[in-house]
Amino acid sequence: MINWANFISQVFNGLALGALLALISSGLTIIYGTLGVLNLAHGAMFMLGGYAGFVAYQATGSYIVAVAAGSLALLVLGILMERVIIRHFYGRPHEDQLLVTFGLSICFVELVRFFFGSESRNVAPPGPLSGVVSLGFAIYPTYRVALMGIVAVALVVLFLVLYRTRLGMIVRAGIEDAVMVDSLGIDVYRVFMVVFGIGAMAAGFAGIVNAPVVSLTPEVGEAILVQTFVVVVIGGVGSFPGAVLGGLIAGEIISITSMINPGYAYVMLFAAMTLVLMLRPHGLLGTPGRE
């Protein structure tokens, strides 16, 4: 299906896919960059955000309430996770961190399956955003176009928090050297809690705004988690701008490759990651020494 109309459609679709990947990945990369914890439960948290929003949507029928509920529920869950479990693992080997977050993800997925079953659940887009819109080069779901804007706003807010606030300054300093921040008298562990909460909220927000695009199942976070890790590796571990760039690159790779040979869309994503690891192990915008 190689023609100009399809090419432009796929480039546009790549941006839409990439924006969402960027949002999910930013939460993962902030947590890893600051806390040094590779959170394998991030996909499950993405899924939980979707289900929390779904419950709110069922109760109120309001998309706005659903988005707020999905985000806040994960903010609270993230803080609880950090206080009760994660903080005990800061000083432990990465293997332990991987195991505990992997275990948590299994618990989250199976809890959701227990209460909601494996059947898919749908959250409808808000009325004005349902249907399709003609972009000239393609017919595209209105909600997906709107989603690009929603995600862009969310990324800008995250950027402002990280780069224009005192909290953000501490977080970025924590990413560079947590021991030094601690020795300056800043309660770095309180910052860690907030960071984990923000990262979880980003995953929850992404989960619920993505719910009208994909139907929710307990496994909805698993496939996305793998892609998210690829995005973080391509962009650079711990780098917020890297997550955005990596997300957009990943979206474009999937979309454009599918135009040439759909069977290789995801293969090419991993090929790109391999290439980055070979040529620039710390990622496109990452800092050497953090790979």
């Binding site: 299906m1 997925v109 494996s118 059947e119 749908n122 399709v132 393609a138 979309s255």
Partner: protein
């Protein structure tokens, strides 16, 4: 002469003896047992049948893309085991020699989650063989799993009846002596639904395919392409996506830009739900007719009947067949009574596959695998929930009808589970390829 009448001669003795032996052999139950007892151990035989019970290993997806369908299948197997152990009349109608249990032994089973992954399924079944001495394996809602378990069955010399498996390869190039399939598959699905959609939509149409990237998807799409080419239908795009793809937008844009008249969605499980929903959101279903060559249990309630209304699909069983087949009615009633909903075709396939195994064992009179296989291969006609069926000895594929259904509109539904209207029951004989057409070589008995 008179002496010979009064006292039996050696010749009379031999005649009587051979006659009696021949008579017992004709009765079908005795000789195999004698032969089996003389055989060296094979697979889990005789260890697996030495106690009062026999064990079946079930590896079924309870998580992942095919979890919903896997749970339905599991219920079918559970009902079958219950009916085998109680000697239920439905089971006896399919397997007339069944009394209680199988050859008088209680049937027990273990369940493992395969997540529709071949490795997980093989590991689970290997454990059932080693630890529980399983005499039968089942499972699969993915043909990749069915093919892997076929190979395990042949290697371990333990019988395997497939769960849902739609690939031509399962009883084609990857067939084995120790594996058997009850349900329909790509070739029969395409041959059954092809004439229906050509009649409905006309000749020389352009088709877009959504194909999952493994043996099921490739063979079902190929069979549809081959059949529809005879009516001048051409493939304008074939979008191959991995199992469990999180998003279909890039594939669907290619479909939207392809100029196709018909979208044939071969995806399955949640992949089918997601791709169908997203096709509608991209406006594709307003422009193209949707066809589902291999019906996905629970698709209609998950995507909503506004998307399946008018859609043609081929399937193995639909619960309203209870109006046409007495055994279907018995099965649907029993299933509904136990589980509270009408069974999907995965559950029916599961039930039937156990019933057919029980019939083969009862007729063999032994669990000795080579004799059970020969019993399967004897070509006995069985009464099933869709009429008379039998196993074709050359490839171990059940010869059975394919059911063509069309989605109902909301206004046509008589109750909340009345999603499909049965249009045709296409006899199996005319749908099947020649036994060797897909390269089946069954392998050895021992």
């Amino acid at each position: 002469m008179s002496n010979s009448k009064q006292s039996p001669t050696r010749r009379d003795f031999m005649r009587l003896g051979l006659g009696a032996a021949g008579g017992l052999a004709m009765s079908g139950g005795f000789i195999p047992r004698v032969f089996a007892a003389d055989q060296p151990p094979i697979g889990t035989w005789p260890a697996g049948m030495s106690g009062n019970s026999v064990f079946i290993g079930i590896a079924v997806p309870r998580t992942g893309t095919y979890a919903v369908q896997g749970e339905d299948e599991l219920k079918g197997w559970q009902l079958a085991v219950e009916h085998l152990n109680s000697g239920h009349p439905l089971m006896q109608k399919i397997s007339p020699r069944t009394k209680k249990g199988v050859l008088g032994k209680e049937v027990k089973y273990g369940v493992a989650d395969s997540a529709a992954k071949p490795n997980d399924a093989v590991q689970a079944e290997q454990r059932f063989i080693t630890e529980n001495k399983a005499v039968l394996m089942t499972g699969s809602t993915s043909s990749a799993v069915a093919v892997a378990l076929n190979k395990l069955a042949q290697r371990e010399k333990v019988l395997y009846v497939t769960g849902i498996s739609g690939s031509n390869d399962t009883t084609g190039k990857d067939c084995v002596r120790y594996g058997f399939r009850q349900n329909f598959y790509g070739q029969t699905a395409a041959a059954a639904i092809g004439p229906v959609i050509v009649k409905a939509y006309g000749k020389n149409k352009k088709v877009a395919y959504l194909t999952p990237d493994y043996t099921y998807g490739h063979t079902v799409t190929k069979s549809c392409q081959d059949y529809l080419a005879t009516a001048g239908w051409s493939t304008v795009t074939n979008q191959v996506a991995p199992l469990g793809a999180p998003d279909y937008s890039s594939y669907l844009l290619n479909v939207a830009n392809s100029g196709a008249d018909v979208l044939i969605n071969v995806n399955w499980g949640h992949d089918a739900v997601l791709s169908t929903q997203q096709a509608q959101r991209f406006g594709i279903l307003d422009k193209m007719k949707l066809v589902i060559p291999y019906q996905i249990p629970f698709l209609a309630p998950e995507v909503g009947n506004n998307l399946t209304a008018g859609v043609y699909a081929a399937t193995d069983f639909w619960w309203t067949l209870e109006d046409k087949f007495p055994l279907a009615k018995m099965f649907v009633d029993e299933f509904r009574k136990k589980f509270g909903y009408n069974p999907e075709w995965g559950a029916n396939n599961a039930y039937m596959s156990f019933a057919m195994w029980a019939d083969a064992v009862e007729n063999a009179g032994t669990f000795y695998p080579p004799d059970v296989i020969k019993s399967f291969e004897a070509g006995r006609k069985l009464q099933s929930t869709v009429g008379e069926v039998y196993i074709r000895k050359e490839d171990h594929q059940c010869v059975r009808p394919v059911i063509i259904v069309q989605g109902k509109k909301q206004s046509e539904m008589k109750n909340k589970e009345d999603f499909w209207n049965v249009l045709e029951i296409v006899p199996g004989e005319g749908l099947m390829q020649k036994p060797d057409a897909f390269g089946c070589k069954l392998g050895d008995y021992t």
